[in-house]
Amino acid sequence: MFLWVMLMSPIVTGVACGLIGHPKIREIVHGIGSVITFVLVIGVVYEIAQKSVVMAANQFFYADSLSALVLAIIGIVSFTASLHSIGYMRQEVADGHLNDVQLRNYYLWLHLFIATMLFVPIVNNLGMMWVGIEATTVVSAFLVAIYRKAESLEAAWKYLILCSVGIAFALLGLVVLYSSSVQVYGAAEDRLNWTFLIHAAQPLPAHLLLLSFVLLLVGYGTKVGLAPMHFWLPDAHSQAPSPASAMLSGALLNTAFLAILRMFAIVMRMEGVAFVSHLVLLFGLLSLFVAFPFILLQQDIKRMLAFSSVEQMGIIAFGIGIGGETGLAAALLQMFNHAMAKSTLFLTAGNMTQHYQTKNMSRMRGALRSMPYSGPIFLLAAFAVSGAPPFSLFTSEFALTATAFVQGHWFVSALFLLIIAAIFGVMVYQSGRVVLGVAPSRSEIQERFGWRVAPLFLPLLFVFAFGLFIPREVQGLLQHAALILEGRAQ
């Protein structure tokens, strides 16, 4: 019941925003709808934390600790981005980048995007999960294409085509999984359900299960932005309006990652599957190495952040590949922490591009002085995302590396440390270019506190707080989720 209401809330809000012509009333409806969706999502997360599993609609919906983590990420990131949108979009309209019809469409697609993302972690059937993820691609492609420019058209096109083809391979993986499940157990509607497969993987033919995993990893990996399937990501994430970029990078990547994790957990129920972990680890390391030069040489601020997302997904994949209860828990914590820091970065980068009227970092200087809120917040979040103490990402990356060494993966751990240290240096250098120095004289106008600033403090709070201590309830949730992945709990 609760789950249905949670899904319906953004749909109703989006359709209402799409129909209302009066800009002021539309903003109010959008704001109230966002708050309601946020409260409902947090309610569901709380319920899962209490009962550890929530089911509805004859097991069509199934949510466990793993779902709770991703739901919390989607809830917080999209709430922050929605509120930020109010100020950001007002400015876009004032600057003449968007007209009122486009604005109406923006709010419509934004809420539908939230709805499709919320659908993914709570469905039981892995096929429906595929349907949900494909739906997120389509809906967010509308958001990417919202500016009527050649660049955004190109970004939307690449995004739609590459992700659709990639995800087609994931569907082939599901076909293989489903037919091997039907072959062993006989036909029934629940043969592709997570609740069924998690107990039934053992007798399935091993080579088919592995084939299916590889297809799903490559397919959903395209959507997650793991190298070498990441080519669409910097385009789409840089061309979308900044609040949408924050949701693409902060929420959607993790939603797609969840689909990989579900399949990972199923395969981990078999004997002798070290190959699976190694493959995930390999994709992770490759993403880190591919992202590094692009962050180093980047001039476009949003593209730099997008490549940093490729790097972060690499770190998470590395953690999943390392495995073990602590490794998996650290990777999941990293997922949450990255979502908070990266959405803050994209939103502040949006404020900066509006302030300086450019995305080129060599023409942005002195943000610390000319933007008294966004400048410092950007700097803090940039330090956080590159893994500096005392912020939250340091905690998770430290736990991850420590686990890797304890497990005796000396060589890959050393490689990992080397590359994240290099990326740390590059990220600090790049963000230093933007925030330090003397601002160009025409952009001396001071930034005021408002819709574009206030929402940023919510994710920033988590970036600070989780660096210092992690509440017992959150720890319990993460550990339980890690046990699910390891195949020791359900």
Binding site: A150, L153, L208
Partner: protein, 212 residues
């Protein structure tokens, strides 16, 4: 019944091979519609053979969505930008025909080792061949609409794979996939149209602004 199974198998192979080699986008859309129609026919034949009602529903939806609605949307878009557009290919026709033959061969030799599904295993080979050919269409064609056609060929191949190994995916999943595919095609049509408007060409060669 076996006669019809053979006919549809042949028709699927011929239509897929033909789409790769056509000269005009319009004929690509027509052959795509024909291919989807054959897929719907195959589903209906299997529904009669097994007596499963859900397969009849799936056959009807395949006919409505894939054989009629999707080609119609693509046709309307093509009409808006100019009906006589050619499907630009980056390779010559003879090379493409050799390539598509290789795809069928790969499909034929790879699938028996899988040990997947029972009975109509020929269809699994055809579906893998179709999948690879669909990717080939997308790689070798420059026009945005033809990439859409290639994507639908891929979708059709996956539908065939599920049909041949386990009589389709679970019912609700199939419905969801149809919905997704339909919306994807609407978006492809809208983006192609806007591409033609903005860049005065539907060629994806023009999409070269975003780099690094």
């Amino acid at each position: 019944m076996d006669f019809w199974l053979d006919v549809t198998a042949m028709a699927l192979m011929v239509s897929t091979s033909w789409i790769i080699a056509i000269r005009y986008i319009l004929s690509g859309i027509k052959w795509l519609s024909f291919q989807s129609f054959m897929l719907s026919l195959l589903t209906a034949v299997l529904a009669i053979e097994t007596g499963r009602t859900d397969l009849f529903v799936i056959a009807a939806i395949t006919l409505a969505v894939k054989a009629i609605a999707i080609p119609y949307i693509l046709y309307r878009t093509l009409k808006a930008v100019g009906i006589d557009r050619q499907a630009e290919k980056s390779f010559g026709r003879d090379r493409l025909i050799i390539a598509v033959l290789a795809m069928w061969a790969i499909g034929y030799y790879v699938t028996p080792d899988l040990g997947l599904g029972s009975g109509h295993n020929l269809y699994l080979s055809i579906s893998i061949g179709m999948l690879l050919s669909g990717v080939l269409i997308m790689i070798t064609h420059n026009k945005a609409l033809m990439q859409g056609v290639g994507l639908i060929v891929i979708e059709n191949s996956l539908f065939l794979a599920a049909l041949s190994t386990s009589f389709g995916m679970p019912f609700l999943v199939d419905i969801g996939i149809f919905l997704d595919v339909l919306v994807v095609v609407v978006l492809i049509a809208a983006l192609s149209f806007r591409m033609d408007e903005l860049l005065s060409s539907m060629s994806i060669e023009k999409l070269r602004r975003l780099k690094g």
